[in-house]
Amino acid sequence: MPCMNAKQRRFSCRWVLILACATMLLTGSCLVSTASAANILKMGLLQEPKTLNVWRASDRWSRKVVGLMYQPLYVRDPETLKLIPWLAAEPPLFDEKTLCYTVKIRPAKWSDGTELTSEDVAFTARFINEFKVPRYRSKWNFVKKIETPDKRTVKFYLKEPKAIFVSRSLTTPIVQKKEWTKLAEEARKTKKPLKRLLNEKIKNPVSSGPFVLKEWRQGGFLYLQKNKHFFGTGKKIQGRLLGPYIDGVIFKIYGTSDASILSLKKGSIDMFWWGIQPGYIEDLRANPDIELFQNEKSALYYMGFNLRRAPFNDANLRRAIATLVDEDFIIKRILQGYGIRMYSIIPPGNAFWYCPDVPRYGEGLDREARIKKAFGILRDAGYTWDVPPVDGSGKVVNGEGIKLPDGKPMEKFTILTPPADYDPHRAMCGMMMQEWLRMLGIPAYSKPMAFGALLQQVKVRHDFDSFVLGYGNLSLDPDYLRNFFISTNDKKRGWNMSGYNNPHFDKIANESASAMNRDKRRNLIWEMQKIIIGDVPYIPLYDPKLIEAVRKGRFTGWVQMLGGVGNIWSFCQLKPM
C-alpha cells in the first residue's frame, strides 16, 4: 500500500538524519572546545546550589556561592584565624558600661553602584530580628537597640554581655537595604512572612563581594563575574593585596566526585571544590598537572550516648567504651590516614580554644590492653559477666553475658549511624565499634539509618541508645560546646541530644557565654572540655583532613586555611599564570 511505502521512506530518512546529526555533533564539539576564556576560573561543584537567597542558603553548595557575594563585617585571617575587619574599617569598640559596640564601616559599594552604608548593616540586623530568620536569630536577639549616627558608624546596644557577639553576630553577611525592603514589606502582608521570605527566589543578588552573578543555567553551570565595585580591589588588607585578578568564576555542576575528578584530570575544570576521597589521592599525586592541598578542618565526628536511660546513664560504661574505641584504627583504615585524632570536642586545628590536657582514654594501647583496661573500669564499677572477657590467667577471651551493677543483664542496644551512601566512614565506624564492643560481651548492634530518620530518632524523639554523627564545618567560636551539653537545650529538637545534665557545667557554660574577656573565656572553655571528656557523653572520634586538588599552571595564589583553599582570600588573590 502506498501509505506503507511512505512510512518506509520516512524510516530510511530517519536513518540518514541520525547519521547526519552524529557527524554534526562530532564536528560541532571540536569547534566548541577551542573557545574558552583564559582568565575565568572553573570550579567543579558536587551539587547544584539550591538557592541564592542568603537567608535560605543552609546547604554548603549554596553557601559556597552566596559567600562570594554577601560579605560580613569581619572575617578570619587565614593564618592566625583572628577576626579582622572586612566591611568594617577597624576592630569594634566596646563600651562595657552601656554594653555598646561601635563599628566603623569602610567606604564600599554594592554591585549596583550604590553605596554600602551603616543603614544596610542596621537593616540586616533588624531584619533578622523582625522575621526571626533561622540560624541568625539566635545571634541577634540579644541586641537591644541599633543606632546609626552617621553613614559610616553603627552602634549596637546589647541587652546583656554576650561573648559571641563579635565572632558570630558581626560575621553575619550584610544585605542591601534597598533590595530587601520591598520584599520585607510584601512578606509582612502575608500570614507566614518568614516562609514567604525564605521562599523568595533571588535571581540576581546585589553583591558586596568580589563577584556578581552573571548567569545561572540550572542543571548546568553558574557564572560569576568580577564585581567592579568590590571595595577590596587594589586594597591591602592584612598585608594582602586584593584583586580579584580573575575575570570570573564558573561553577560547573557534577553529580559525582568521579566525574569531577575526571574533568579535573582532563582539564575541563581548574579546581574541584570538595574534599577528595582517599581513593583518588595516589593517582592525583602522580599526575604532574595536579596539585594537592592538605588542610585541617574544623570538624567533629563523634559517638554520642543517650544519658537519659540505661545503660548509658552510667559514666563508667561510657568511659570503658571510650577506652575500647580504637581511634587510630579508624583513622588509619577507614580514613586511609587522612584524619586527625580527636581528644576533645574542639578540634585541635582551632588552636586557641582547644584544650590539650583532657583525659585520653586508651591512648597508645593495643586491642588487648584496651580490653583489659575497659574490663577493669567496668569490673570496678560493679559490672559482672557470665564469661568475663579477661579470664583468671589474664588472657583475653570473648566475653559473654554482661550484667549491669544492679544485676540486670545488659539489653541489646543499637549504634545508629548514617547510611553508607551518606557517609561510608561513619557507617563503617559503627560497624567496627559493634565488633569491638562485642569482644567485651557488650551486645551492640550497628544500625545504619536514613539520615532524616536518624535525626528524628535522636534529636526529636530522643528514642535511641547511641549514635555516630558529625559536623563537617564547625564555627571557630567554641560556643557550640555550651549548646551541645547545657541542660536547657535538652528538649525536643534541642542540641543537647545526649541529655547531658550537669549543674556545674551549666554554670561554667553560662559564664563563658557572657565572658567578654577572651582569655577568661578561654579558661572557662578549657574547663568545660575537661568536664565533658571526663564524663564522655560524646566520644570524639576523628577530624578528617581535607584534601583538595587544583590544576597546576592555570592560576596561582591559592591561600591555604583551616577549611581548605576555597576561601574568600583565595578568590581575591588568585592570579592567572
Binding site: G28, K50, L194, Y223, G255, D421, F451, G452, V460
Partner: protein, 325 residues
Amino acid sequence: MELRRYIVRRMIQVIIIFFLILTVLFLLFRLAPGDPVSMMVDPDMTQEDAEILIVQLGLDQPIGVQYLIYLKNFFTGHFGFSFHYGEPVVDIIWNRLPNTILLFTTSIILSALVGVFLGKIASWHKGKKTDSLMTIGALVTHTLFLPWLALILIWIFAYKFGWFPINGMISEEVWLDPEAGFIAKALDVMYHMVLPLFTLFLIHFGAYLLIMRSSMLETLKEDYILTARAKGLTEKVIRDHHAAPNAALPVVTSVGLSLAFSINGGALTETVFTWPGIGRELVSSVSQNDYPLALACFLMIAGVVLVSNLVVDVLYAYLDPRIRY
C-alpha cells in the same frame, strides 16, 4: 464514537488512579519519620528556630488539613514549595521536565525504531547466523546492569578517548558565548546527550528487537502471509508491508507496558550522567526528605506513565482496526 467513549472511560479511570496514588503517597510521606527541619544539622539552628520553621512550613497542622491544603493547591496548579530549594515545586519541575522528556523520548523512539528494524531482519533470517547473532547481542545488551554500563561508557568514551563530555547537559563555553546561536546550543545539548542516549539505547533496543522478532515469527505463520505470497508479492513487500506492520503492533503495547520499567533506567542514567531531569531530582529529593518535591516528581512520573499508557491503548486501537471499543 465508541472509541471516544472508551477514551473518556479510560480517562476517568486514569484520574481516579492518579488521585489514589496521590493520597497514598501523601500519607506515606507525612507518616514517615524525619522532617526537613530536623535535617538541618547546622549547630546554629536552635530549637526555637526549628519550631518557628515548623510553624512556617505548616508542618504543625493535622494531617487531614495538610492533605486538604495540598489538594487545594494541586487544583490551582500549585504543588507547594520545595523544602530544599525554597522555590515553587512547579518551577523546578518545569525546569527539569523538558530535559527528561528530551532524553527519554529520544531514547525510546530511537531504540524502538532500531529494535523493530533489527527484529524484522532477525526474524527474516530465522535460524541463520544473523539471527542468532542479533538475538544473543540483544539479550546481552538488554541484561547489562545500567549504571555499571554507564560508568564504563563514561570511562571509555568520555575519559580514555575524550570524545564526549563526562556528564551534564550543556557546556558553559557555548552557552556563555554571546555569538552562539540556537543551533550551536542545540548541538551542544545533543553532544552531551550522546552518551546517556547511547546507554539507554543499548539497554532498551534489545527488548524491542526480541519482541519484534517473536511477534514477526508469529505473524509470518499467519495465513494472510501465505495469501500475500500466493498473490505473487515479492518477499520484501510481504515482509515490509504485510508482516512488519502487523507484527509491530505488540511492540506498541510493550512500549506502553515497559514505560514504568524504563523510567527506572531513566532515573539511573540521569543520576550517573548528572542529567538535570526529573529522575535525578526525584532521587536527590528523596534522600533530602524534600517531600513536596519528591511527591510532585513521583506524581509527575506516575501521571506521565498513566497518560502514555492511555495514549498507547488508543494508538493501538487506532492502528489495529480489529479493536473497537
